[in-house]
Symmetry: D2
Subunit: 325 residues, 4 copies
């Protein structure tokens, strides 16, 4: 078995609120609590940290110590550009003052990336978009989406920025909505330090085949990160990876593998009602099934089947590798 | 113009949190604040009140006074059987202690209904369902869904209970998921004081034609309430009524009208980023367009078109009535 | 391994047309050709036959001989109540003459059921429904849906009728659209010889959990038949069973198993571009994985997990059974 | 009222088959029959013609005469690269021989474009894509998609090629699936004579906001054509324009209008069970409502509302313009 590293968004180990359970699905946790829980997962190496650190007045040092104790590194920092002040958008907010605020806010998070030696600033502008027909001027909105990210990338050439696209939620339409739309924006930005963080579930939710999305991002030289979970294709359910779509998940990792993409395999799950550690362990155990499946996959047979677009032969090979023959 | 009464869920005038904007889409409001805002809507007669009253230690008297001042009556009480303590279900919770708690909780809300002279207890068991394949024994879960409502209805024969079904959210699958499923459950309960509160948007989201859902519930003698909003058919967006699907909304009201269903036309909207009062006014203004449309609809022509399933003729008649000829 | 019998709709072995490839996805085949192909599948016992027999002037005897030669029995007869003459509906056609024609047509197919000793008449009224808002009077349409089936069941008490529901296609809304709607109709009919044929993919497409749908139909004493396939949840793709949703398929069969439901496991697949025999073999091989999984499933552990609604534990048990531990 | 020209795909006036009504939804019609019907629509100027001409051995001259008699011009030619021979793909077919055939076939259609003086060759590679996980090598498939169109555009610099994207159908995943994906491909091709034909319903079906899709294509200088229809967002229903989503249709045309996009307003409808001429008239009458709405739209008010992302104000302005104030 290879030395594949596994990671997770630290929010995996938080508790959540939604518009109904406004008192939360559990007692609030600080990011330090969450890091401690993450440390209990059997095989986790790195985490992606929301910033500012949730749960009170918590310093970088506090976090560093907690990470050390838990044996975890930092892969990315996710500035929270989707809270109340940005509820009408961060980069695309109608108010230029709030757009500046978003810029300054992410700029400050860049220093956190540097301090923790993380791989990237993760941008998930979930409030950037629109809800209603006629609500926005679409050309302007997209222009702001591009400029907002572009300015940050230009000003911080030492850092890498990844955009995590999603079709929608919390906005009814999100601006960076699909792999192709995001690549189109990145091409327009034209800088080397902007790429995609591809969320398997967001691709499924958007009607994409995640394996195809990965290949497209790779072919554009822009697949800078990824994470996995599962859903029912109609919403970003952030369920445990492997529980609904094991075969497409396998195809996704096969695509990474054959392109020699060697990054961290991350989880982006929201176990609202589940034990966080158990949910992470189940997912990672499934990812280890995937690893084993890749090791025994009949690569030559698969290539022949794919050359003929022979779905039956290709599926048989994939099933035999993943489920045993 | 008829004396149609309009209503709204009081949450229309609250602010909201979700899993991203955990600090909320605005300053928290008490139910008294919300009632005051509701009173500013141009043409609103009644509200449906969440219970317990949100925003602190607020008495029935406080609420009564606020309602009087705002000129509003109470149509229903919605016990919050979807907060943290019920996050794994209310009537279907795996823990019998929590199921009892849900029962006692709703029982207490019955007294609130009596005190305010409301029309019904509204049951929206949004946490009753399941998320994952293999998670539950489906037969037991459905049995609990039926028993939970049935016991309440049997114990409170002086009151009316309405079930508001929805396909999903916050659960990935909700137990009372569709109009037909709910009617099937109600038939099994077999009591006269249980009916449906039909949410136009939930029907759309579930792939139903809301007009058909309304007719089915009426034909079973179980349409006890309704509310409207709009969405993109893939989620319960709770957008402003009339902004996306005006024609199906018109058909829905036509169905109520031709069956002489004479209840309140209610709003169930979540204006996350909009002014609550303006959002309610826009919706009610559209509902008045609907009223005018019903007044000029070529009923004979429509019946002939429908007798022939003639979509073109029927649509032309409907468009002319709603949009002008 | 048990003596589970496998079946298939004979159309699995036909070729298809659609609105684009109007010249078909392959050379036309007669039902005799299709039977011969079905006979080449490794482990197939019975077929469901479209009636009239497609491909020309083919007698019952011709079909009997072909079946004998292929070693196949007949589980059901599917009268084609969805061709041109019924394109505006069979039981719900606006023209009473066509409704009578549908009745006579199905009545004639009853004799074919008797002649072949099949288990049931399968009713799939795919053209019964509506496309546009305002097109139909929904109460009348549903009444016709119920009366059409009810009359047939009353007149043929020696036979069993199964209704195969589907949300839509070719109609934008199909009248028998969901498991609950169909059960509601069957209860209204009130005869013992009408039940459901549950198509796994139709349930998925309708946003149902197929295991839950099966349990509901069983609890109403109405699960008279089933078939499987797969899809992406947004359409009735009729793909090869097991290729997209293996875990939910496993849960579906677990539900049948624990209820001692002992019917034929049938395929309803449309291999537009695949070799029919290979597609059937791949599906049945997956179903044999399911059988093996059921044999090793930790039933006690699962029951405990389900009693607690413990998704993680339940999934781990299910994955270990299906994929190996 | 302006001199807006209206058009339609000639298939609007054909009859259809699908996988159920294999005998068709009506008597077969030749393209000459269809042209005659198109000529009966009240206000139609141009048509898009499938090629080869359907219905038998029909010459260019036959078609010319029919068009003259009907008073119709030709806007585009649609080579049928989605029939049996291309059922596993045209530009992306696994067989290089079939890919060459597709190339030659479209090349021949170029001469038809020249002969009729049409505006463009319309490419709708509906069979180019995949159905199953693991079926294809995604990088190769996309490469073939780009090369196929690029070669044609390079070889025929005097002509314009438009790609009509769609998420799926008949393929489970179509290669040119979204506006952004198609623009990404077109940028890669890098030739001036390739653009997008934007189908309103395909955009809706793909989860796009059609107005946003139009703006994006315009901003890339690639909106070369458009057509409209309607659907329920979950499938390419090709229903009559304006019957389900009038407001988003209005926003779509507003976007064209404010960008001074001055092409033909075309219909791409499939009236399976409706009178073709009546269906076209109803749609065009709705488009004339749109024209009137654009004429009275409070443009300044809308711009202010959009500058603030004020959904309520913007919607009120739009509704007043379209439905009357």
């Amino acid at each position: 078995m290879s030395e594949q590293r596994f990671g997770a968004g630290i929010w995996h180990f938080a508790t959540y609120v939604d518009r109904y359970a406004t008192d939360g699905y559990g007692e609030p946790r600080t990011i330090l609590d969450a890091i401690e829980l993450a440390g209990q997962v059997d095989d986790l190496s790195v985490v992606d940290l929301n910033w500012p650190f949730f749960g009170g007045d918590i310093s970088d040092d506090d976090v560093s110590k907690a990470l050390d104790k838990a044996g975890l590194g930092v892969i990315g920092i996710t500035p929270e550009i989707y809270t109340r002040q940005f509820s009408k958008g961060s980069f695309t907010n109608p108010d230029p003052g709030v757009r500046r605020l978003a810029h300054e806010f992410v700029t400050r998070s860049c220093d956190v990336v540097r301090k923790f030696g993380a791989d990237y600033v993760k941008l998930w502008p979930g409030q950037d978009g629109w809800d209603y027909p006629f609500q926005v001027d679409h050309g302007t909105l997209w222009q702001h989406s591009i400029e907002g990210v572009g300015q940050l990338a230009a000003e911080n050439p030492d850092l890498t920025f990844v955009i995590e696209y999603k079709p929608r939620e919390p906005r009814v339409h999100m601006s960076y909505s699909s792999v192709a739309r995001t690549l189109l924006g990145i091409e327009k930005i034209g800088l080397p330090n902007v790429g995609i963080l591809l969320d398997f579930g967001h691709a499924l939710f958007g009607g994409e085949s995640p394996a195809d999305s990965a290949q497209l991002a790779i072919d554009h030289g822009r697949l800078f990160g990824m994470d996995v979970n599962d859903n029912l294709r109609g919403w970003d359910d952030d369920m445990i990876a492997g529980t609904v779509h094991p075969i497409e998940l396998f195809e996704f990792f096969w695509t990474l593998h054959k392109n020699n993409w060697e990054g961290v395999w991350q989880l982006d799950q929201f176990p609202f009602r589940e034990d966080s550690v158990a949910a992470a362990n189940l997912a990672i155990d499934f990812l280890k099934r995937v690893q084993k499946g890749l090791a025994v996959l009949d690569v030559e047979g698969l290539k022949q089947a794919q050359a003929a677009h022979d779905a039956v032969a290709a599926q048989r090979i994939a099933q035999n590798a993943l489920f045993g023959s």
